[in-house]
């Protein structure tokens, strides 16, 4: 479904991604794990067009995305819950969700998608008229994911969904991610919490200083000694 072929991305002179190739198949949950500064978020920014690649190809369903501007990526079927959630703090929960459906016009479809988001996140329904900024961290994360779902993406990009959340909420969020996937949305999730991410993903890539150092089945990588040492905190 999505292919990155030898992608190099720069921030000015800084070489952030040094030839990344990865593939995501229809219906999968794929996770990108790695430490701080490994290039996980940059990979997502490259896919979503915010920081386009300097060389290499990004293909979505066979079509190149390299020169598609960021705001058009959404209507191609990819949406993301950005790093740090970035919900609209002064808009209500409902308005945030409506904003997620900005590229769409069919009102009845939007309404039914909103119901679907409320089914996934009943907490959001309780807070529908509350301002985004007044939600707790977990609720804000739910809102960010829900908002990304409102564009009816075929591929959902999640950047650090566990960041800053209590463990019990992390479990809940990951459960919901699996739930969304089982309803047919392909998901690429970037995580520092490697244990959780490997727990729900089908496949995984390990990033280190801008390059992929390991790839494979999530279950296999979980047993991998290097991965355990570096990212799972096991000796």
């Amino acid at each position: 479904m999505l292919q990155l072929q030898n992608v190099h991305t720069y921030y000015g002179n800084i070489h952030a991604l040094k030839g990344i190739s990865l593939e995501i198949n229809q219906g999968e949950i794929v996770t990108l794990i790695g430490s701080n500064g490994a290039g996980k978020s940059t990979t997502l920014r490259t896919i979503s067009g915010i920081t386009p690649p300097r060389t290499g190809q990004v293909l979505f369903e066979g079509k190149p995305l390299n020169s598609v501007p960021a705001h058009k990526i959404v209507s191609q079927g990819i949406s993301q819950s950005p790093e740090g959630r970035r919900i609209f703090a002064n808009l209500t929960v409902r308005e945030n969700l409506e904003m997620g459906a900005f590229t769409r016009n069919n009102k009845s479809e939007i309404a039914s998608d909103m119901d679907r988001v409320f089914e996934l996140f009943p907490r959001l329904k309780e807070r529908v008229a509350q301002r985004g900024g007044t939600l707790s961290g977990g609720e804000q994360q739910m809102l960010a994911i829900g908002r990304a779902l409102m564009s009816r993406p075929r591929l959902l990009l999640l950047d650090e969904p566990s960041m800053g959340l209590a463990p019990v909420l992390v479990d809940l969020i990951f459960e919901i991610i699996q739930n969304i996937n089982s309803q047919g949305t392909t998901i690429l999730v970037v995580e520092q919490n490697a244990l959780m991410a490997l727990g729900i993903a089908h496949r995984a890539y390990v990033l280190q200083t801008g390059a992929i150092v390991k790839a494979g089945d999530a279950a296999t990588l979980r047993e991998d000694e290097d991965v355990q040492k570096a990212y799972l905190g096991m000796e």
């Binding site: 979503s48 915010i50 501007p69 960021a70 705001h71 058009k72 990526i73 959404v74 209507s75 949406s79 993301q80 950005p82 970035r86 919900i87 609209f88 703090a89 002064n90 808009l91 409506e98 904003m99 997620g100 900005f102 590229t103 301002r131 900024g133 007044t134 939600l135 707790s136 961290g137 977990g138 908002r147 564009s151 566990s162 960041m163 800053g164 959340l165 209590a166 463990p167 909420l169 992390v170 520092q192 919490n193 905190g233």
Partner: protein, 583 residues
């Protein structure tokens, strides 16, 4: 004790105002200044006292009517009728703002009460003018009676021969019309209609009647009202850029200048092009919109303070450009070198330099003919039509997809991008739409004044417009209109007329006591202190009510985060108890 605090604060404001007058007008006598200070302090205290909403609404709205009556009343007592209508309308709207009613009947009663209180204030001010202020300003009873019968409309028709009868009639008319308009406004607002046509009709009624009353009473209010309306139109355009899209523009007067100069160049004998105003106003708006794009394009990556600096520079460049594009020695050849090749360009006096362009052709309509500078009524109605269209259009724009894109961009540009919003387009559209409305304003201004000068488009114009938007309530059109009415009303009506009145009173006192100091010095002239007064008002406003008089809900929430403390605490607690953060 929050209440005591409020009393101290408001009493303090009253005292400060009293002291200001005492210092300012020493020859009014300490007694008069003290009295004025005491009255204002009492009003402030009354306002902060726990009174029913209708009394407060009536009090606030009535104050404006009363001040208007006092400053105009000595030579034009008929103004009390317009002041009464407007304050009644204001009271009705205000009382609904403070205590919304679902039942139109109850709303009508509440509005009538508030309106009657406001109208009574205005009427009392008329009596005060008749018996205290006019004599103090040296207008004797006979002279005042003449003013009264000249300016109070219907007085002749009703055959009110005696002055006292006319005064009583004006008193009753002012109070009654205020009560009726207050009731109508409050009742109309309680109707759950969208768009609320009855409400619009109630507001439109006095607005449309003003020129007729003005003409019947020969009040000459339109001379001040039309420029006020033009500035409100400009502020509405600026509100798109600053309020909706969140782009701080400190050079907005540039677009006003571009609109006005486009009109002047295309519709005057100056360049020999004399197109019809009805065509030129569209050209002016289009040129201003294109200018908005040219400002927007290079500033795309800039935000906040940086954008403000660039727009400030733009606002300075444009009037200078108009100043230098003409007014030089007549005819001559400017030689430019293009890759060494001399090219002669005949120098054309495009803009008239410092002298500006004069005259500009007025609009022409069948039946009415050319709009005359002496008859302001067609101008007034034309401006009302332009403003009505602008308000309608901006309203629709705000509720459209584009409006939502502006809102998202204002909140968080990156997130807006991630939602699939084309941020580049959204920004450019905000600049060009905002500029377009000031193009309309500029075109009308040029034709109305009949001449334009580069000095009319100073930095101070941009700042006054920004003050109107912020004082009224950033992002809220009603707020911006009210902010505009207050600031421009003070600037063009209350302060100059008030200064005149004070000068008359001071002169009268001086001649009565045989003192040699006649009149007031320039330092004591209220008009010289208008910027000082604005400054004080702005400082106080930003401290007391930073969201503006009628805030946009979201802005209010941003500026008063205290209400959210419970939730933000829970966020902090959650982050603390989270071990994954440390990992």
């Amino acid at each position: 004790m929050p209440n005591t605090q409020r009393y101290v604060k408001t009493g303090g404001i009253g005292f400060a105002v009293g002291a200001f007058f005492l210092w300012n007008y020493p020859n009014l006598g300490i007694g008069a200044a003290l009295l004025g200070g005491l009255v204002i302090a009492a009003l402030c205290l009354l306002y902060s006292a726990p009174l029913p909403d209708m009394i407060k609404a009536g009090l606030i709205a009535g104050m404006f009517g009363a001040v208007m009556t006092i400053v105009y009343g000595t030579d034009k007592p008929g103004v009390a009728i317009i002041a009464g209508m407007l304050s009644g309308l204001g009271a009705g709207l205000l009382v609904f703002q403070r205590s919304p009613q679902a039942n139109p009947k109850k709303a009508a009663i509440l509005g009538a009460e508030a309106g009657a209180i406001a109208g009574a204030w205005t009427a009392l001010a008329l009596l005060l003018t008749a018996f205290v202020i006019a004599p103090a300003a040296g207008v004797d009873a006979g002279e005042f009676a003449e003013h009264l019968s000249e300016t109070v409309i219907f007085a002749d028709a009703l055959g009110l021969g005696s002055d006292i009868l006319i005064l009583l009639f004006a008193f009753a008319f002012s109070t009654l019309s205020a009560a009726i308009l207050g009731a109508a406004a409050c009742a109309a607002r309680s109707l759950p209609l969208r768009p609320n046509i009855p409400l619009l009709a109630v507001i439109a009624l006095p607005v449309l009647l003003i020129p007729l009353i003005d003409r019947a009473g020969n009040l000459l209010l339109l001379d001040a009202l039309i420029p006020i309306y033009i500035f409100i139109l400009l502020a509405l355009g600026l509100n798109i850029v600053v309020g909706y899209a969140g782009l701080l523009d400190l050079g907005y007067a540039a677009f006003f200048a571009i609109g006005a100069y486009t009109t002047a160049m295309l519709s005057s004998p100056h360049l020999g092009i004399n197109l019809s105003f009805w065509l030129v106003i569209w050209v002016a708006a289009a040129v201003a919109a294109i200018a908005g794009l040219t400002l927007g394009a290079p500033t795309l990556p800039l935000r906040g303070d940086y954008l403000a600096i660039v727009t400030l520079g733009f606002g300075e460049i444009v009037p200078i450009l108009f100043r230098s594009l003409g007014g030089g020695p007549p005819s001559g050849t400017l030689t430019l070198r293009f890759f060494g090749m001399p090219i002669g360009i005949e120098q054309v006096d495009l803009t008239g330099g410092n002298k500006g362009i004069n005259p500009i052709s007025p609009p022409h309509l069948p039946f009415i003919g050319d709009f005359e500078p002496s008859n302001k009524i067609p101008w007034y109605y034309l401006l009302i039509v332009i403003m009505g269209l602008a308000i309608f259009f901006i309203n629709r724009l705000r509720d459209s997809r584009q409006g939502r894109a502006w809102m998202a961009m204002r909140e968080d540009e990156l997130a807006a991008d991630a939602m699939g919003i084309n941020v580049v387009r959204t920004k450019l559209l905000a600049f060009s739409m905002g500029a377009m409305f000031s193009g309309f304003g500029g075109a009308f201004y040029g034709a109305f004044i009949g001449a334009i000068f580069p000095s009319s488009f100073d930095f101070s114009v941009s700042i006054i417009l920004l003050c109107m938007v912020i004082l009224g309530g950033l992002g809220n059109m009603t707020g911006v209109i009210i902010g505009g009415l207050l600031i421009q009303g003070a600037d063009k009506m209350f302060i100059p007329k008030g200064a005149e009145l004070f000068r008359d009173i001071a002169n009268e006192r001086a001649s009565a006591t045989g003192s040699s100091t006649v009149g007031v010095s320039a330092l004591q002239d209220l008009t010289q202190q208008r910027l000082l007064l604005f400054g004080i008002v702005l400082v106080v406003m930003m401290l007391v009510r930073p969201e503006g008089l009628l805030p946009n809900e979201r802005r209010k929430a941003e500026l008063h985060p205290d209400d959210d403390t419970i939730n933000s605490n829970s966020v902090a607690a959650e982050a603390e108890s989270d071990p994954s953060l440390a990992a």
